[in-house]
């Protein structure tokens, strides 16, 4: 992560105010910061979204490509995550500086999306046993202001919601079956993202379990639990991070709190995406 140096006094300040149930910005433990979601900004992609959570800025582009199926799973499509930490976020990411963080986030995303109900994998299969869609989900990290995992997962889900997969027509040829990808921009199908998880990170700061930690709060927290939560409240992946350890009771409390927040977040996000879609507004992107 980016360098945030906090003195012991500053850490103590955050910890003490947490005891009085005040976070540095006045939020409660289960409150998120202000978030902006926008979809369809990059016309070169099949689906794109930008999420700005306080100063965390994430841009996701999804491109689809026809590839041969994985022989082990002949009836489903595939997805692949790639995350690039742009040096715009911090000079520490220059060159290969952000690769460690990038691989951590992609690993978590891959795990969260690896369960079969995350997205409608069978619908991504074009010709069973032969061709399927491969979704390249490319994430660009433009600015870090804490809670990257959650913001990235929200952006990914929004981009998948925005995804427009061109329709494919199949014609039987003497050589086999010929696939013809439609180049009409209005001839497409959408992807069902109802089951897609959102990662919720619960930080343990002092004795409190805090979601959507700012960068400063992240420095104060010794251990955090990340969970991929679906709209139904199921957990698709879990991981503990940080140098500290947790007792079993607080883990179960953290899971509960993540579930509560995650379900709510999923609902809100889908609502917002639906309304945005209905309004047919032109994306403003970075010009705002």
């Amino acid at each position: 992560m980016t360098d945030v140096d906090l003195s012991e006094a500053e850490k103590t300040f955050i910890l003490h105010s947490m005891q009085d149930n005040f976070r540095e910005d006045g939020r409660g433990c289960e409150d998120f910061r202000h978030m902006e979601v926008e979809t369809g900004l990059i016309s070169n992609t099949n689906g794109s979204a930008r999420v700005r959570l306080a100063s965390t800025d994430i841009l996701v582009g999804v491109k689809v490509q026809l590839v041969p199926v994985d022989p082990n799973k002949p009836n489903v499509g595939r997805i692949e995550f790639f995350l690039d930490c742009s040096a715009n976020a911090t000079p520490a990411f220059e060159g290969r500086g952000g690769e460690g963080l990038a691989s951590e986030i992609t690993a978590m995303l891959t795990r969260a999306y690896s369960c079969p109900s995350a997205i409608d994998y069978p619908s991504l299969c074009v010709l069973p046993g032969q061709q399927c869609w491969l979704l390249y989900i490319d994430v660009l990290l433009l600015e870090c202001g804490g809670n990257l995992f959650d913001a990235v997962s929200i952006a990914v889900k929004s981009a998948l919601f925005n995804l427009r997969i061109p329709n494919v027509t199949m014609t039987k040829d003497e050589g086999g079956i010929e696939l013809d990808v439609s180049d009409d921009p209005f001839d497409f199908k959408r992807l069902d993202v109802a089951g897609a998880p959102i990662i919720v990170t619960v930080n343990k700061i002092g004795h409190f379990h805090v979601v959507d930690a700012s960068e400063k709060e992240e420095v104060c927290s010794l251990a955090r639990l990340m969970l991929g939560i679906t709209e139904k409240g199921t957990v698709t992946a879990m991981k503990k991070e940080g140098s500290g350890s947790l007792d079993t009771d607080s883990i179960s409390e953290m899971i509960e709190s993540a579930k509560k927040v995650g379900v709510e977040l999923n609902k809100c996000l889908l609502n917002i995406l639906m309304t945005e879609e209905g309004q047919e507004v032109k994306p403003v992107g970075f010009l705002r």
Partner: protein, 249 residues
């Protein structure tokens, strides 16, 4: 591109522009809080983000420091989804390394480097969507980011591209025009003193045609300059007016 006329008989280009017409330019300075200066710029469908960090202490090895001037460090990278076909790597390939070197040269010529000896300035450019003229958009965005960061410069650096299609010089070419034969000329200039800091041409062009194209590109650069300068000034006026209200209030 058979069957596709880059310049129609009526004198219009594929995207409906006239030969000497620029694409729409929109930009915003200061899009990021953490960077010392940042800017977002759209030139038609080419979208670029630039961030400037510094001047700060030399990072990694004092050996790189220049004893009498500022060290300018650039990184050009393209989002993997920015191009029509997905890119495998955002940076590190030959083309982006070349672009990084070009940017470095360009800004070395315009920043008053002797004011900051032994320190470093980072210019990071990220192409979000590419539709021709990546270098030009990058230079223009970085110039705005430098202005946002308050780095002393001799002048704006403005870059623009041009080509020669059907006996007509055209300006600010898009991806389609870039990729379908024809020569491409890229120039970065200091618009007020009309100095060229960077020029590149690829493919073949008859000597006689060179100067009309260069003139056209030069005009393009100046047009871009006027657009950028106007908005930068307006914003500054607005801001200082606000500050005055705050001060007096």
């Amino acid at each position: 591109m058979a069957g596709m006329e880059l310049l129609s008989d009526q004198g219009f280009r594929t995207d409906g522009r006239k030969p000497n017409e620029l694409r729409r330019i929109r930009f915003k300075k200061g899009v990021f809080k953490q960077a010392d200066g940042s800017a977002y710029l759209e030139q038609g469908n080419t979208k670029v983000l630039a961030a400037v960090y510094g001047p700060h202490e030399i990072r990694g090895g004092k050996g790189k420091a220049l004893h009498d001037q500022l060290l300018i460090n650039c990184q050009y990278s393209m989002a993997t989804f920015s191009t029509q076909d997905r890119k495998r790597r955002p940076r590190g390939d030959r083309k982006s390394l070349e672009m990084t070197a070009h940017l470095k040269q360009t800004f070395n010529a315009v920043i008053l480097t002797e004011l900051y000896p032994k320190v470093q300035l980072d210019i990071y450019v990220e192409v979000l969507q590419s539709d021709g003229g990546n270098y030009c958009a990058s230079v223009n965005a970085a110039t705005l980011a430098l202005i946002d960061a308050g780095i002393p410069m001799k002048d704006y650096v403005i870059a623009c591209s041009g080509s020669y299609i059907r006996d007509t010089p055209v300006v600010d070419i898009n991806n389609l025009e870039e990729s379908s034969a024809g020569a491409e000329i890229i120039m970065a200039i200091l618009p007020r003193c009309e100095q060229i800091v960077f020029i590149e041409m690829n493919s073949r062009l008859h000597e006689d045609h060179l100067s009309p194209v260069m003139d056209q590109v030069m005009t393009g650069c100046k047009d871009i300059f006027n657009i950028l300068n106007q908005q930068v000034r307006d914003e500054l006026c607005k801001k200082s007016a606000q500050d005055r209200i705050v001060d007096s209030g």
